[in-house]
């Protein structure tokens, strides 16, 4: 009985101490630029964070859904886009969920204002980050990091895992998204999507050469995001590849729980074929929008890690 009580007391004390530590860590003040589907989903994820505080939602169209939802949650809003963000002041982090072209303009302004930028567009001003693969190496030095693309977040970890086992000569990925989950940003930037994904497969995934294909499927009910990953490599190592891919899948699942190995790696001629499916958390976007969920989850994970490193004085 006493032992149980002691344990309970100890647990309680630990909880208090834990809370105090969190309270001591000042939350970093964050803004979202671009109150579209991605921006709203980010808002809901940041609200749950212990280390980030969402203080501003910036858009350019007054009365848009995202701005309305932010106002209803008591978050300040501006319709003056990046200018509104810079004038707001006292910000630590900005999530940019606009488009490639706007981000090219935002990036230097954010840097000047000493605001750490988490870029969710395919602009790729800063280095690519895929949390399961290369998070810390970039966070310590960069002031702007790029979240690649949803297709990149879903496939780069697999290519990286296989490349740890045996060199990947060529990686090719096919990302199929439901049409409903591909907003105007994705559609107008479809070339940037394929190019940025390809580049990340090489730079972060480690493939010597790569190609990315994106397909929009309008089927109703909407399909889950699915990604087929073809890797040209030594297929005799398939047993080790399977193990490496399963380990990597668990790493991604830590921040994107809906990430699932749909077809375990198998050898087919000179290539290995792997299929992953991504179901969303259903925060703002429906569950079929796993493509958007994996990039917003990764972005918040990166920002939280940045907050932690900053708190620890690592930078």
């Amino acid at each position: 009985m006493n032992v149980v009580r002691q344990c309970k007391t100890k647990k309680f004390l630990n909880l208090i101490i834990g809370r105090m530590v969190v309270l001591e860590q000042k939350k970093l003040r964050a803004a979202i630029i671009g109150p579209g589907n991605i921006g709203i989903d980010l808002m809901m994820k940041i609200k749950r964070s212990n280390v980030l505080e969402l203080v501003l939602m910036a858009g350019i169209v007054s009365g848009s859904q995202g701005l309305k939802m932010a106002e209803e949650s008591g978050i300040a809003t501006t319709t003056r886009g990046i200018d509104g963000v810079i004038e707001f002041g006292d910000l630590d982090i900005a999530f940019d969920a606009t488009g490639a072209n706007p981000h090219m303009k935002h990036a230097p302004l954010l840097k000047q204002a000493d605001i750490f930028a988490v870029d969710l567009t395919p602009a790729a001003v800063g280095p690519y980050i895929v949390p399961a693969v290369n998070m810390d190496s970039q966070l310590l030095t960069a002031h702007n990091v790029n979240m690649v693309t949803c297709g990149g977040q879903a496939t780069v970890p697999i290519v990286n895992a296989i490349n740890q086992v045996t060199p990947v000569e060529y990686a090719e990925i096919v990302a199929t998204l439901s049409s409903l989950s591909a907003g105007p940003g994705t559609r107008q930037n479809i070339d940037e999507f394929t190019q940025t994904t390809r580049n990340a497969l090489i730079k972060v995934g480690g493939a010597q050469d790569a190609k990315a294909i994106i397909i929009l499927n309008p089927a109703d009910p909407p399909i889950m995001m699915r990604n087929t990953i073809y890797t040209k490599c030594d297929t005799a190592k398939i047993a080790d590849i399977i193990k490496a891919v399963e380990d990597m899948t668990r790493k991604v699942q830590k921040y994107a729980p809906g990430y699932k190995l749909k077809v375990s790696p198998y050898a087919d001629g000179d290539k290995v074929v792997t299929v992953v499916e991504v179901e969303g958390a259903g925060d703002y976007l429906p569950k079929y929008s796993g493509n958007l969920d994996i990039i917003t989850s990764a972005a918040v994970t990166v920002a939280e890690r940045y907050a932690k490193l900053k708190h620890e004085g690592a930078m």
């Binding site: 096919v174 199929t176 559609r187 070339d191 394929t194 929009l216 499927n217």
Partner: protein, 335 residues
């Protein structure tokens, strides 16, 4: 006499029928003879267009640049075209193609996704190319939806908009309803691209012309995905008899067809698998991929194709074939 523009796709859609293995020399020979025969435009490249050479769709025998160089040198009057499917090919790929005298680009999207092609149509117009919007799998959307998407292409600056029966699944009344509505409502010319999975390619093409199409596709020997395209020699014969002017010489095309026959990997027929494609409304180029998957996983190719149709797969989703084959194999072994 009404004039009809002919776009030959033997060297693009026809590539599906030879698993993208034509050599640049073979392409140059065919292109040269199409030019001699007075065909208006030839489309060249991998079956899935610029950037199509891949694990997903199969690697082509040569590079795009090698094909375009060989064909451009063989042409005198005939215009050189390429196909660009946004998500597979990019503006970067088009810029490379333009170095070889490409004058026309067809920007192909699924019938409900025209806005994915906005940047490519606009880029083409800015670069002085002819831009054609190409709505694939048009059987999957009702005429009003096809019209809405065709209008999007027109608004981006497309010079012509194509209604494409990628699955060879349309009956003549489906063609008439779509072409009739779109040609009435748009001010640019309308085109039609047929597949022969239900044996209707030439007939549907004639129906399209009667309903208002001003530009139509064909391929020598009917080479193409699934059961192939509208067979060009037959189509020209029909249009000659129908009193249309195409500028193409029937006998020269007949002579060319004999040479193309010698290059074919298999007869271009309606067989049970390609018929299943038309019947299920699945994408034409799934044919050979489904046969390979059927063999690998020990299931019936027709079952795969019918299931792909049921799941409303769209053009380019060759990787779904693996999923479906694996699931069918599992279901089969648990029985």
């Amino acid at each position: 006499m009404k004039s009809i523009r002919i776009i030959d796709s033997t060297l693009r859609d026809g590539m599906h029928a030879v698993s993208h293995q034509f050599t640049p020399e073979q392409m140059a020979m065919i292109a040269g003879k199409l030019d001699e025969a007075g065909v208006d435009t030839v489309e060249v490249g991998h079956g899935d267009g610029l950037g199509g050479s891949s694990f997903q769709y199969g690697f082509s025998k040569a590079t795009e640049e090698q094909y375009l160089k060989a064909v451009s040198e063989a042409l005198t009057k005939t215009k050189l075209a390429v196909l660009l499917i946004p998500g597979i090919g990019t503006v970067e790929d088009l810029e490379v193609a333009m170095e070889y005298g490409v004058k026309t680009v067809r920007v192909a999207t699924h019938v409900t996704e025209a806005d994915a092609g906005e940047q490519h149509i606009k880029f083409a117009k800015k670069s002085g190319l002819e831009a054609i919007g190409f709505l694939m799998m048009s059987h999957m959307a009702p005429p009003e939806k096809v019209l809405e998407q065709a209008k999007l292409f027109e608004s981006y600056g497309a010079d012509t908009v194509y209604i494409t029966d990628s699955a060879g699944a349309m009956l003549p009344h489906d063609v008439r309803a779509r072409i009739g509505l779109v040609s009435k409502e748009l001010s640019v010319p309308i085109g039609f691209h047929a597949h022969n999975n239900l044996g209707l390619a030439v007939g549907n093409t004639l129906t399209a012309i009667e309903a208002g199409a001003a530009s139509v596709d064909g391929t020598v020997c009917g080479l193409g995905a699934g059961s192939g395209n509208s067979q060009l020699e037959a189509l020209i014969a029909v249009l000659n008899k129908g009193g249309y002017n195409t500028g193409a010489d029937l006998y020269k095309l007949m002579d060319l067809s004999k040479e193309v026959e010698g290059l074919m990997h298999r007869p271009q027929t309606i067989n049970s698998d390609s018929l299943a494609i038309g019947y299920a409304g699945a994408y034409g180029s799934f044919l050979l991929h489904s046969r390979r998957a059927a063999e690998k996983f020990g299931v019936d190719a027709r079952e795969i194709l019918l299931e792909l149709g049921r799941r409303k797969t769209v053009g380019g989703q060759e990787d779904m074939i693996i999923d479906v084959a694996i699931e069918l194999a599992k279901a089969k072994s648990s029985k």
